[in-house]
Symmetry: C2
Subunit: 313 residues, 2 copies
């Protein structure tokens, strides 16, 4: 093993940079004070951070898993606006005794996640730190539609999700319990697989409000409710539970619906549509927007557990 | 004292967000999955990270100092392209026992640095971590000129710097030695004051290659030399040494020129101009580009110490 402290920053960059994905939007890439990127339409930008020991553990996730997840959760944020991602800025902080191979593996994971979508890494920064911290800023552009925010849901509209929920949370629970019963769930925690492009399709079909579910359906639905000043009434029986979450829940002796309602990090989309007829194929209608209450009700009740807090857990 | 773990993420954001600077370029600001920013010309983007214990220490720098520096080093990167910064994405990782006031002070520092330039914070992310890690991505745009890279210096051109050097490195040395002799130098380490806009002026006057000096004049000049495949011959007697660096060097009994040659983080600009007549007023000519050697010589000699390495120090 060779550590990044042994080879130093310049040598690490020389190994790392050629493995990164590229984008046609890049006018000037890594290696200067800044990168230059072509933007068509409006610029859409978002950032997410992954911290070792909080968002991932090195004993569970490879460098490629972390690179994949860092990319994918950012692509999902742009998709959730109904926009199209083009490029990433990556800052990687890491302890000097980290294996160089971890960093190269991280680049491979970024590339595997980004290349199918034509997204490239155009720049970033490297630094030493006591733990691995990956910060990603994703740049995207609108493709002929307005962005879809969280603030335009209206009473009477229908609430839908783009995919079955709970697999990532179930995978985390399995890994945390040391139970190797449902590899698909663990894998979907390490490498979430949102359908990038589902958000643009929803925007084209007239989605009024949309977001990606990163902190759990209930907590994130509450964000749309508050931003739009509507109530959101969910029917728990209609919430699609991922089969891997159901299997994991059986193995752990817990309730699968809880994974689907409060588990984050599947990065499926939650959106509010004017009517059932505008909901794209493959999505599931799970409730409706109401004017009664700027919050979320499940089967008519205010739920008690609404996701998690990034500082207190 | 109230810690960020005690008040939680949502309450922290509610306190933090109103203190952030705003920009006219913002179409949709913080609070959704992504922000939307107007871009005129090409998008210019750069990222830098500040890690507690490596780039700053809490016993030396206030939250406002860290916010200031995080903003300013990123504004300097856009300026170094001859472009104009418009907005920032900020990710802040912090331990749960951090005082809320530190975070609010950090926002104030961001605002103090950004507001005079019309730059706003349009989005970001917060997470827990074992140490404070601030990652900033800056977005900017070209204003009618091509970006100025590091790669277009040619033999016979003149090399110049935008401001006297060494104050930040001298300030670090004073703080590190516990010598409170030259407050101006310590202050310029904590709050570097590059002239944002000097890069656009240089671009308009025809600068062929440019960068901001963040890792020391010699190391950064070497980067222009390698990118442009030229030699850079510097005259040490012509290098402008900041008066605060001279005073600090006297107090510490060391050589002030060393601060100016190898100290980073003043974020002054280093540029290569076609001729002396195109060098803007206030800049100092310090050498020339040659075709002899893709590296740096000082007074005809290859220097032995060329800045620092981010992982090995």
């Amino acid at each position: 093993m060779t550590t990044i402290g042994e080879i130093g920053e310049d040598a690490l960059i020389a190994l790392f940079a050629p493995r990164l994905p590229e984008t046609d939007a890049e006018i000037l890439g890594p290696g200067d004070d800044a990168a230059v990127v072509a933007v068509d339409g409006h610029l859409v930008v978002s950032s997410d951070v992954l911290v070792e020991g909080r968002h991932f553990r090195r004993e569970w996730s490879t460098g490629a898993d972390v690179g994949w997840r860092a990319a994918m959760q950012n692509l999902a944020d742009i998709d959730a606006m109904g926009a199209v991602p083009t490029s990433l800025q990556i800052t990687l902080c890491a302890p000097s005794d980290l294996d160089v191979d971890w960093v190269l593996d991280f680049a491979d994971g970024l590339r595997e996640a980004c290349e199918p979508h034509g997204v490239g890494v155009v720049g970033g920064d490297l630094s030493g730190a006591d733990q691995i911290v990956v910060s990603v800023t994703v740049l995207g552009e609108t493709h002929g539609t307005e962005v879809v925010t969280r603030a335009d849901a209206h009473p009477g509209m229908v609430v839908a999700v783009s995919a079955p929920l709970g697999a990532a949370a179930a995978g985390f629970a399995l890994l945390d319990a040391g139970v190797d019963a449902v590899p698909e769930a663990s894998q979907l925690f390490k490498r979430p697989r949102p359908i990038v492009g589902a958000g643009l399709e929803a925007a084209l079909r007239g989605a009024a409000a949309m977001m990606d579910i990163s902190d759990g359906l209930l907590r994130d639905a509450g964000r749309i409710a508050r931003a739009s000043e509507v109530g959101i009434a969910l029917d728990s029986a209609a919430v699609p539970v991922h089969p891997a979450a159901t299997s994991a829940a059986a193995a752990l002796g817990v309730d699968a619906l809880r994974f689907a309602l409060t588990g984050g990090e599947d990065h499926a989309l939650l959106a509010v549509f004017p009517s059932v007829s505008s909901v794209p194929p493959g999505w599931e209608v799970i409730g409706e927007a109401t004017d009664a209450f700027a919050g979320v009700r499940v089967d008519g009740q205010v739920p008690d557990a609404v996701g998690w807090d990034h500082f207190s857990r």
